[in-house]
Amino acid sequence: MKNEQLVYQNEEKEKRAAELVIANKELAFQNQEKAKRAAELTIANKELAFQNEEKGKRAAELTIANKELAFQNEEKGKRAAELTLADKELAFQNEEKGKRAAELTIAGKELAFQNEEKGKRAAELTIANKELAFQNEEKGKRSAELTIANNELLFQNKEKEKRAAELTIANKELAFQNEEKGKRAAELTIANKELAFQNKEKEKRAAELTIANKELLFQNKEKEKRAAELIIAHEELLYQNAEKEKRAAELIIANKELAFQNEEKEKRAAELTIANRELLFQNEEKEKRAAELIIANKELAFQNQEKEKRAAELNSANNELKKAEDDIHKLNEELEQKVIERTEQLVAANKELESFSYSVSHDLRTPLRLVHGYTRILKEDYGINLDTEANRLMNNIISNAKKMGQLIDDLLTFSRLGRKELVKMNIPVSSMVTTLCSEIKNENGNRNIEFKINELQPAKGDNAAIKQVWVNLISNAVKYSKLTEKAIIEIGCETKENEIIYFIKDNGDGFDMRYADKLFGMFQRLHTDEKFEGTGVGLAIVHRIISKHGGSVWAEAKVNEGATFNFSLPK
């Protein structure tokens, strides 16, 4: 029991060692793969970093271009603002000019109105003047008439004086005659007196007329003065009119000039408006473009950000990978260290096992041999004197000691397999199997066995170990078909891409597939010893050898319908 345990431990340790070696290889391969991937990632990262750099450069260029654009926009904005201001100023000036033009128009109108008024007044004055002139003329005429009348009166007066004188004479004569006529004189005096009165009245009237004349003269003079004044005023008015006309003309010219200027200004304003619109349009376009650029910039910034994010992510992923790699490296180193340690431990354990198996083989076999030997001697020397039961018991001791010897031998074979290095070479499987089959057939001469050996591909492996596999499997097939009248054992192979699968098919007892997993275990048996003797080590040995070769072994069977054992070997 202890022995079995030990062997089992041994097997486990060897399995673990093999697993560790495989795990180590796998790890090495993974490391290699990871190193490759890390290298690829490093390259990808560098590329990304380079792209990022390029993008960063472009972003920087764009940022500069954007800044320039922003600056240009600003400048344009400023210029637009200036233009707007200039425009406003112009508009204001235009407005002012319009106002002034309006004022001038109004002033012009006023002037025109004043001119008109003045014209009217001048006309009125002219009419008044003409009237005055006419009145003056009339007055002159009247004064001339008056002068004539005066002159007439004067003449009449002279005539009257003459007559008065004549009358005086006539009077004297008359006085005389008066005297004479005395009567008549009185009468005449009265007539005289009357005449005198009449004269007086006439003188009074002449004086009045003189006064009136004088008045008329004064009036005439006044009128002349006034006419002169009127003439002067007229002249002045004329002058003023002329001045006003000049001024009006000047104003008209100024107005025209203003109108021209206004026109020019309007033109310019229109031009400016157009220019302004154009500028506005350009500004708009530029703003659009700036907006587009801002959007593009934002997009770029976003893309940059995304790329940076991605780069950061990649970086972090890379770092993580690196870390993972480092970890793996560490782990690997640790594992390697562990493997080294384990290997050392295993080597030590193996050495221990070696000495152990030596001990087992040496020290266990010796007493066993002696048990067997002494029982044999007992039977030989005293068997005749002992009864049947004693002989039966002795036989049992002998057979069990023998079986234990076989077990120890198998165990040692199994253990040796684990320690022995495989020497791989090309194995002519076909001839090997043919030879083995005929040997086994000879050993079982009393049995009816038919071997069907198909063409078998050569294998690569340890000759002795593979031979052991074939021996065990063919022996098994023969053993488990011993209850069949005619054992038919078919051996063949199938070539796959990377491996060759060999099979041994028998028509023997088979086994229950439920226990298939137990088949290859140490000391595992699916049959009783009475039915089929065995130690349960043969298939464990097969499993160990095939595993060591990197192949696998499996079986298919049905109870009473035979079994097929397959094993694969890498090409």
Partner: protein, 165 residues
């Protein structure tokens, strides 16, 4: 029987000539296990090969005997056994060391030495051949086989094999 042999050896100095002639069949069995020794001797006896057999229980004794040292100082070294059956695993001086001494001394070098081991797993098997072992026999567990092996071994070395001289 052991006694008999030991006495025989002890007397060897005086009865040298007799011993030399008697020692034509001499077998030196170096075996620490009495049982094994008994089995071996029994097997040899069956074929009358154990008449002049000396059984020594360890390597030190074997060396003393072979090189006439210690308790065997009166012995003639040249008076060699015909065959030495040497167990490997022994206390004090093991079989390998004994073999080394035998094969490195010109006086004893020619004695055939057959290693009797309990196991084919012995790690020293190759070394034994390197050191000059003339044979390596694994003692079978099964008595009949063991018997057969030892008998054949004895017959071969004692009768079939032609030693130098």
């Amino acid at each position: 029987m052991k006694q008999e042999n030991e006495i025989l050896v002890a007397e060897s100095t005086e009865t040298e000539l007799l011993l030399v002639t008697d020692n034509d069949n001499d077998i030196l069995l170096v075996e620490d296990n009495d049982g094994d020794a008994e089995m071996t001797i029994r097997a040899l006896k069956k074929h009358n090969l154990a008449n002049h057999l000396l059984h020594l229980k360890d390597g030190a004794q074997a060396l003393d005997f072979l090189f006439a040292e210690g308790g065997y100082s009166g012995r003639q070294v040249e008076n060699t056994p015909k065959i030495i059956l040497l167990d490997l695993k022994m206390p004090k001086v093991n079989g390998k060391e004994v073999l080394k001494r035998i094969k490195s001394d010109p006086r004893t070098r020619k004695i055939p030495v057959v290693i009797l081991s309990s196991s084919k797993e012995d790690p020293d098997i190759e070394q034994c051949y390197d050191l000059g072992a003339n044979g390596y026999v694994v003692k079978p567990v099964e008595f009949d086989l063991f018997h057969k092996v030892v008998s054949e071994l004895g017959l071969f070395w004692m009768i079939v094999n032609q030693p130098p001289q």
